[in-house]
Amino acid sequence: MTSHLSWNLVYDYRELLSFHFMLNAMRAGTIVAVVSGVAGYFMVLRRQAFAGHTLSVVGFPGAAGAFWLGANAAFGFYGFCVLAALIFATLPGAGRSAGRVGNQEPAVIGTVQGLALASGFLFLNLSHGFAGELNDLLFGVIIGVTDGQVIALLVSGVVCLLVLAAVARPLLFTSVDADVAAARGLHPRLLSAIYLVVLGVSVAATSQITGSLLVFALLVAPAATAVRLTARPALGVLLSVLIALAVTWLGEGIAFFSPYPIGFWVTTFAFLAFLLATGYHWAAARVRVPAAVTA
């Protein structure tokens, strides 16, 4: 999909959206960016990036298995992602910060991730899948999004956002301060389970568009960028969403006028945003220290 970029951006934008597949790619990308921005913020706050990454990888064997059995890939994505989320929620140490010494979560999740990739590869082999399927499952089919898929994505996205809005405060409380939250009658394990299932659903929905490997770029990079820019939770969620939207729109727009895939552009812009924020964070810390000494 190579179109020529003129210097009139309004004209370029109109031309881009005059293609229905591009309009749907923009719609899907927008939904995915908003949901990933919010869900990703909590993932970074809870230091569960590894669990989130594994959930996105687990969608691959699910979809490959569905492909092998002749079923809709969506069932595979949703089934495997939600099942894996429930398994992670029952691990000892779930509901606590994953960074704690003695927490077995990363070891168990890493083991699951290895098995997931291997079974996905096996299922594709069994179904005599071609490299094309592998490519689509891992790197997405953003260009081929149908109207029906956009609506399905919108429904699951709205459900995820509503659940996250309902549990936002207790989830924030248990994420940063599990002991005090428990003393106040909250259940860190239950909240962790709810969050992981929401993450599983949003990852499954997103993977169908972006593929198993690129979902992660939108889930972690904007949130990781946001927490380097602010320590205010509400502003952090907002920034995370805005950064996810910006890199998605920019990536999809540029990809339309270039011979390279959308996933590459989105991921690259997300990475650039992260680099800039890390640089800002580093510089701000250097500036603040002398100021604190003289104060």
Binding site: V44, L45, G99, A165, A166, V167, A168, R169, P170, L172, F173, V176, D177, D179, V180, A181, A182, A183, R184, G185, L186, V227, T230, A231, R232, P233, G236
Partner: protein, 272 residues
């Protein structure tokens, strides 16, 4: 309230077990409103377990445990709790003021509406958060990320979080741990001030009795399964402490008549 002078915490011959092992038993005590009591004793005697029992997070296996006129765990919204903890990681993306705010309404479901839509309620929350941050003297650093505050600053903010809902009882688990001597004295004075000013009963677990001794009303020593409670003058004697710790301990008097405990086994790293 059935009795006019209700005890904030009342244990009668209470016992608890962890993993089938009896941690303490036959513990009887009552804490009154506005009292500052320290829980002391060797490692592993169940000091933190006692606080968790008061919160209803650890079941008692015998006797009675009443907290604020109800069985333990029923009235936790009127209890401020500061668990034993390590410091927040420097990269924790949350400010001290946010953490204090979570103490106010972090257990509510749903999103907080922006202030201009909620009106009085949001203003009230904001006022109380500011007030309690002022009370602990943390206004200067409450808007910094919590992980970038020093240990003493973090401890003050966490005390503010425990205080924000105007609790009747404050449970503090080793709040002086990992603080330097100046900060230990500062935080101890702060706790005593809050205890007097807001008439809050304080149960404070400590490793080392000396930094808090001047501020305490009573001390509770847990040791070898039992407990001894009384004023520092009654309990902190060479005979009682040597008996409790099963090792020779001296109690000295300084020029102002203050007590200093010497030879406390925990201070020398040999447990039991």
């Amino acid at each position: 309230m059935t009795t006019p002078a209700r005890d904030v915490v009342r244990l009668v011959e209470a016992a608890t077990q962890v993993g089938g092992r009896t941690i303490w038993s036959g513990v009887s005590l009552s804490i009154r409103a506005g009292e500052f009591v320290a829980i002391l004793g060797p490692n592993g005697v169940g000091k933190s377990t006692l606080l968790r029992a008061v919160l209803g997070l650890q079941p008692t296996t015998a006797g009675q445990l009443q907290v604020l006129g109800a069985p333990a765990g029923r009235r936790n919204s009127a209890i401020g709790y500061l668990p034993q903890r390590r410091n927040f990681d420097p990269s924790t993306p949350i400010r001290g003021v946010d953490l204090v705010r979570l103490g106010w309404d972090g257990d509510r479901w749903g999103l907080p509406l922006p202030g201009f839509l909620r009106g009085g309620k949001a203003k009230q929350a904001q006022q109380r958060v500011d007030e309690v941050i002022e009370l602990v003297g943390a206004a200067g650093y409450a808007h910094r990320p919590i992980g970038q505050c020093s240990g003493g600053e973090q401890q003050r903010l966490l005390i503010a979080q425990a205080l924000v809902r105007r609790p009747e009882l404050l449970l503090l688990d080793e709040p002086l741990d990992s603080l330097d001597v100046t900060n230990q004295a500062g935080v101890s004075r702060l706790i005593q001030r809050v205890c007097r000013a807001e008439n809050v009963a304080v149960l404070l677990v400590a490793h080392d009795v000396n930094p808090i001794l001047p501020y305490l009303d009573r001390v509770l020593y847990l040791a070898h399964g039992g407990a001894v409670i009384g004023t520092p003058q009654e309990v902190i004697t060479a005979e009682t402490l040597s008996m409790l710790y099963d090792t020779p301990i001296d109690v000295l008097h300084d020029r102002q008549g203050g007590l200093v405990v010497v030879g406390q086994p925990d201070l020398h790293g040999q447990h039991r």
